[in-house]
Subunit: 558 residues, 2 copies
């Protein structure tokens, strides 16, 4: 099938996506429920079978430099080794193959590239059950979350990047005649111009351990849609979801008549990490990264040859100043703090509360009562073990267990973390959140990101002081999400003002079925790029427009 046919097949989706980007209401073309009516009666079983078929064998991926040995040691946080191996990276072979693929992909133009990208996403969507298992058993997400965040929502983010990239490219005309009048006595000066959009060069996507597809697809598809060959370097604990993605991409590229090496996998070896050498290679001109602040900052400082888009870490905040729905507030927080054991870049860590308590629909509640209310809600929410293990998922990194332990000594434990036995996976590592009360003076403790199911309840001098302290932590350490509960219009205005100054997206009075840690493609920009947590937002013009450059060929007009 040629690229033109893919364009025709997906033109409506592209057009709707372009419209959605400007209206920014709710929209998704990829159904988020694992429903047999949508995905097919056998899709669930087929996906599970396919996942089992991948285990304990080499992953089938024919790309340059394979044959140099195998790497791989993924272990499911639900308690078993995947036993899958991937080709060991031959960096020269990969970079050479990517560079060789560039001219034809560049010359295909924005529309053909969008068509190919949409077909890749379409096929990834069809593989959503397999992908859900792959994401679940590398990241530790529960199945439904893995299906949604690793499947449909990641595909949404990929499509968003494709549409955004297409829009920016389409804004530059392919050609124009420049005709400058020279007065009544002389003919005009005429120059015929054609613009060619050239990609920056080879792009690298450095994947993360927790949301390999959701965080990886924006950079992958933004670079691909703008003409750059992409080398995908997954986190070594979460290679499979991106390896599956690369395989689908290569299959579609080849079918459309392009070099499959336009997308390549660089499977990492924890014993000999490749990211630094790869990202600093002079041939690499774009790096997309999600992960630690330390390595993100290292990339920003040490890859002057490349555009670096980095989502790093931050300390997300909530301020509880007052509310007219304390029950809704605590229910909302119970879900936010529990979801995927807080292993999200959007989970709230620091909950600032006036030390003298807050006003609620039930009258005044002391600081301790507020803390206890949240603790009770978390406990109740996770009281049902079947629901608890689905929501919490597994802990994907042993360091997180150590951080939970350490948190016990950082302040007064309001709710301790406990292990949960998973009915389906006896070896799974499942933990509930720990809530620790601190004082405003414990800034050194709460200003550090403590990734995982760890939240601090921080007693502040007042509601206003809480808002200020929250903004200061964002300015110092960055954040992806912020939330404020208040029924006081002045406090709300102050919260908005501080959010604008600190450059943080703000959720006000979230008490229902929408959560501060959720971010919807085509509507929410993920991160702002305006505080230290990230230097870009997913996905806006700034995220795509510098991945290609306009080159003009000027000819004297006849």
């Amino acid at each position: 099938m040629s690229a033109e046919l893919f364009v025709a097949k997906h033109r409506d989706t592209l057009n709707t996506a372009l419209e959605a980007l400007t209206s920014r209401g709710y929209w998704s073309p990829y159904p988020e429920m694992p429903s047999p009516r949508v995905y097919g009666e056998t899709a669930a079983a087929d996906g599970e079978t396919a996942f089992q078929g991948l285990q304990n064998r080499p992953f089938d991926l024919d790309q340059p430099g394979a044959g140099e040995g195998r790497v791989g040691g993924e272990r499911s946080p639900f308690g078993f080794d995947l036993g899958i191996t991937y080709p060991r990276v031959d960096r020269e072979a990969l970079l050479g193959a990517a560079e060789a693929a560039l001219p034809a992909w560049r010359d295909a133009g924005p529309l053909a590239r969008a068509g190919v990208c949409l077909e890749i996403l379409h096929r990834l969507n069809a593989h959503s059950f397999l992908m859900a298992h792959a994401v679940m058993h590398t990241t530790g997400q529960g199945f439904l979350m893995a299906f949604q965040a690793g499947g449909a929502h990641a595909q949404d983010r990929g499509l968003e990047a494709v549409a955004c990239a297409y829009a920016e490219q389409a804004a530059i005309p392919a050609s124009a005649r420049w005709e400058k009048p020279q007065g009544s006595k002389a003919p005009p000066l005429v120059v015929d111009k054609t613009w060619h959009l050239v990609p920056r060069g080879v792009a690298v996507v450095v994947g993360c351990a927790t949301f390999p597809t959701w965080n990886g697809y924006p950079g992958l598809f933004a670079s691909l849609a703008t003409g750059n060959p992409v080398i995908v370097k997954p986190h070594p604990n979460a290679t499979l979801p991106l390896a599956l993605t690369v395989r689908v991409a290569r299959e579609v590229l080849a079918e459309a008549g392009f070099d499959p090496n336009t997308v390549l996998l660089a499977a990492d070896d924890p014993a000999a990490p490749i990211a630094k050498d790869l990202c600093t290679d002079p041939r690499v001109r774009i790096v997309d990264f999600t992960g630690s602040a330390a390595f993100g900052t290292w990339l920003e400082r040490n890859c002057p040859q490349a555009q670096v888009y980095a989502e790093k870490s931050g300390v997300n905040y909530l301020v509880i100043e007052s509310t007219d729905d304390f029950k809704g507030l605590t229910r909302n927080l119970a879900f936010t703090l529990s979801l995927y054991s807080g292993q999200m870049c959007t989970t709230s860590q620091n909950i600032f509360i006036p030390k003298d308590g807050i006003e609620t629909e039930d009258g005044h509640k002391s600081f301790d009562e507020v803390c206890q209310g949240i603790a009770t809600a978390v406990d109740k929410f996770l009281g049902n073990t079947e629901r608890a293990v689905e929501v919490l998922g597994g802990i994907c990194n042993p360091d997180t267990l150590a951080r939970i332990d350490e948190a016990r000594g950082l302040g007064r434990v309001v709710l301790d973390s406990r292990a949960v036995d998973h009915p389906g996976f006896p070896e799974a590592t499942v933990r509930t959140p720990i809530l620790v009360a601190l004082a405003a003076a414990d800034r050194a403790v709460f200003e550090d990101e403590r990734f995982g199911p760890i939240a601090f309840l921080i007693a502040c001098e007042s509601g206003a002081a809480a808002l200020t302290l929250a903004a200061e932590t964002v300015e110092a350490k960055g954040a992806i999400t912020g939330g404020v509960y208040t029924v006081n219009p002045e406090m709300e205005a102050r919260a908005v003002d501080l959010a604008l100054r600190a450059g943080i997206n703000l959720a006000l009075n979230f008490t229902g079925g929408v959560y501060v840690n959720q971010s919807a493609a085509f509507s929410d920009f993920h991160a702002t790029g305006a505080n230290p947590a990230a230097n870009a937002a997913l996905s806006d013009a700034a995220f795509v427009a510098n991945r290609f450059r306009p080159v003009c060929i000027r000819r004297m007009g006849a």
Copy 2:
């Protein structure tokens, strides 16, 4: 007059500019001819009087930190001291004032900011005669060129940046309702969202000595239109044009009810340069720079807290492979090489020619005949002294004189540079171009930028080898302009392919009244950002979209 009235006054201009950006044909709202019918019968005399009135006195500019003494030592390349002094910079006062101006300017929103920017440009246009004198007697440009490049064309570039910035901001809606269906039995989830476009912070424009307004306005207006207060730091030899600009901007800002400190002047002192301390200040979040590769690269590496948009230097090329209009070619080159004594970032330096000569409409011409043809055309073009001094202008930097001297020893001099006596300014420093023949092996000589009226005629193995060598110099050292003369379709295709690979705008067979060193706003992107000469293009989406960030306030829907 309020910002709303400025918006109403200039709405048509803004709309036409937005349209021009997408069609990219010829358009300019600012007349480039210094015509009394356009600018008024007394405009020329008024401008000259105003310029004389500025000389030998303190420049009137009331801004924070003034009173710390004065700086200034501008000398006209036409042979006299301007005698103008500016307030010495109090960095803390300037940065504090800029930060204080931010919130109101941010909250004004994109349309009000565009209205204020357009009024600033409108008044700058009305001051075009004064500006022409200011640019002429700081940069050394001839009067007409100073009027055009320093006036109307610079205003075009400013307007282009405003329109581009407005378009990118307008693409994000002010608000949207996100409404996610929950099936037939439950009400939808509803979130009301408002987006606030927040500026990065304080912006600094580092001006250059040769085109202070043309190169300074894009960054100034792009930052201003996106909500960032701007501190303008001119080159100490060309402070006046930007000081006038800042004064007009402050006047319009105040009239519109904004803090005039939204735009500030930081006049530099050659004895104690301020750029490094200013640009690395943590409060500075955007830097626009035009100047040397060394300092541009320094800024890129040493301002991690800021977005740095840098136009550095490069070695522009021409390749003469064959032509059917040798006379037109040589006439075209004579103008290009002579204009403003080659003190342009767009002037061709390296002219690659097959060592065995080329085919022309008059048959074969040897390498020496081609060189001689160009030399003769330059000589003839500059034979008329009155025209010569207008075209050449004055040499603005003594280092350029030294480079001309040095060039005499670098190869075989085909045409020597000579001093020209300026009929109107006996003390002016006027020089014609020097043409030096080199071999392809003299790469170390021609790969360096040698700013000024210095061009190399480089004998290459063949036309194909000439194209390859040109592309290699672009990839190694960068370039803003490239040009190729060929009647051979295969060579033309090869030239285009190499231009796309090297990321260089290419002029093909320019023989008439359009020149490779000219760049028209709304049509030509100036530089590509795809080779070492510049990391950005004037002005595309990438140049503006990262100067602001979208911040979302989310509220649960009713």
